[in-house]
Amino acid sequence: MNLAQYLTQAFAQHALLAGGLVAIACGLIGPFVISRGMSFAVHGTSELAFTGAAAGLLIGDNPIAGAYAGSIVVAAVLGALGSRERERDSTIGVILAFGLGLGVLFLSYYHGFATQATNILFGNIFGVGSDQLFALLVVALVALTVMMFIYRPLLFASVDPDVALAKGVPVKLLGIVFLFVLAFTVTSAAQIVGTLLVLSLAITPAAAAQRLATKPMTITLLSITFALVASIGGILASLMSGTIKPSVLVTMISFGIYVFARVIGTPPTRGNRNIIESSQPKQT
């Protein structure tokens, strides 16, 4: 089959739709993940989605439901345990190590298809059924709505927590809300690119965007665009190649965009270097 023929197939359409939804959600949270220093939290929640999925497989032959349930547990635990960045990182490390061990234990008791397990780790976008697509759609829409609703206070709380607090922004609550949005989004993305490669949609596009712009809104829009290009591009390229898994190509394209952004993006500089801070009251 060639690409045009593939595109008439339900599995390919589902994959593209799912990939697009997840990319938008990931691209949106990416800049916040970076400015809040939560890359490791993304990694941690995605790996723990594996534990949830393995538990889901074992209990009800339903890895997706298991992954979402697992991500809720992880977000709740992280929210309850560590609020400071450094403390949070070590907390994630501890839970991550324990959770992975637990996941492996679950899998050793599972006697179904072994591919179910590797799908969790590396993603299986072409296996997306309509139920799953619906779940992805709901998650993406909820994530989008919540993020748009809290965008401004979350930005305030992320870059300037002291003043945000003084202005009455519920900094702590926002942190927890964001943790849940992140956990859900990451778990959804894990179904596309796999738990091991989630960072390529949740962080790489935002990191590339930061190389090219300084305005928060522009960065967010660029980040979403890059995530979409990587996700849709990876799926299309995989269909064309016929053999290479989409998650591999998604990460390749995502990385390519990052390298490109690093090469053409100039590091941010001051508007005017020779303005030395100080006494002259008004610069013109």
Binding site: P31, I34, S35, M148, F149, I150, R152, P153, L155, F156, V159, D160, D162, V163, A164, L165, A166, K167, G168, V169, Q210, A213, T214, K215, P216, I219, P268, T269, R270, G271, N272, I275, I276, E277, S278, S279, Q280, P281, K282, Q283, T284
Partner: protein, 266 residues
Amino acid sequence: MPKVQKAVEFEAATLQFGNRVLWKDLDVAIETGEFIAVLGPNGSGKTTFLKVLLGLQRLTHGSVLVRGLRVGTDNQHIGYVPQQKSFDRWLPVRGRDLVHLGLDGNKFGFVHQPDNAKRAIDAAIEAVGAMAYADTPIGLLSGGEQQRLRIAQAIVGEPDLLLCDEPLLSLDVTAQAAVASLINDYRKQLKATVIFVTHEINPILPYVDRVLYIANGQWVLDTPDRVLQSRTLSRLYGSTVEVVNVRGRLIVLGTEEAAAHHEVEA
């Protein structure tokens, strides 16, 4: 002149953490338009004083009102200038964005940005003389430049109360003078009240109406020349403290020892 609403009113306010009393029976009324300096040794509860005014810290006893309202109910009309803290170089935020967040960063939802928002932001940036570097990522600016933008952020909503928490810390002397005078300019123009926590009185001395000096759980509130004299401070610290005037700069000697001494005793 008609009587104006008190900016801040403490009544028998006490704050303690466990057995440690930060201040006791604080009865203080601050008039609208006053410039109040809050002084005291480390750990005397100066920052906590601001937190109480922001509604972020509860009093142990007593009450406090800000413009006749319960604290924390109207923080949008309070400007807050924090200590200068260096921003990450790569933080994707320009000075202009920081000021913008000061205007409506606490608003949830899809806020339609009104035309006058941009005008207000520009006016605030212009007022602190930061237009030339307002579009530069904040992490690339010097401490003094960042603090100018901090002030723009604090004044952009035209608050009638400015709370400043050691905003001059880690700035050089020239920048200190510039920042202090910007804050005073704003106060004059808007008839706003300024409460300025600092450990260094000299840069703001020309502007200060009254000094609230907190030490050892005690406090005194009066004009600078009455508070900043050896007799008053010695009584407050319970040991010899000397205030010397060196070419117009006030230097307070003996407070560190007094504070340390007190801590050992307590």
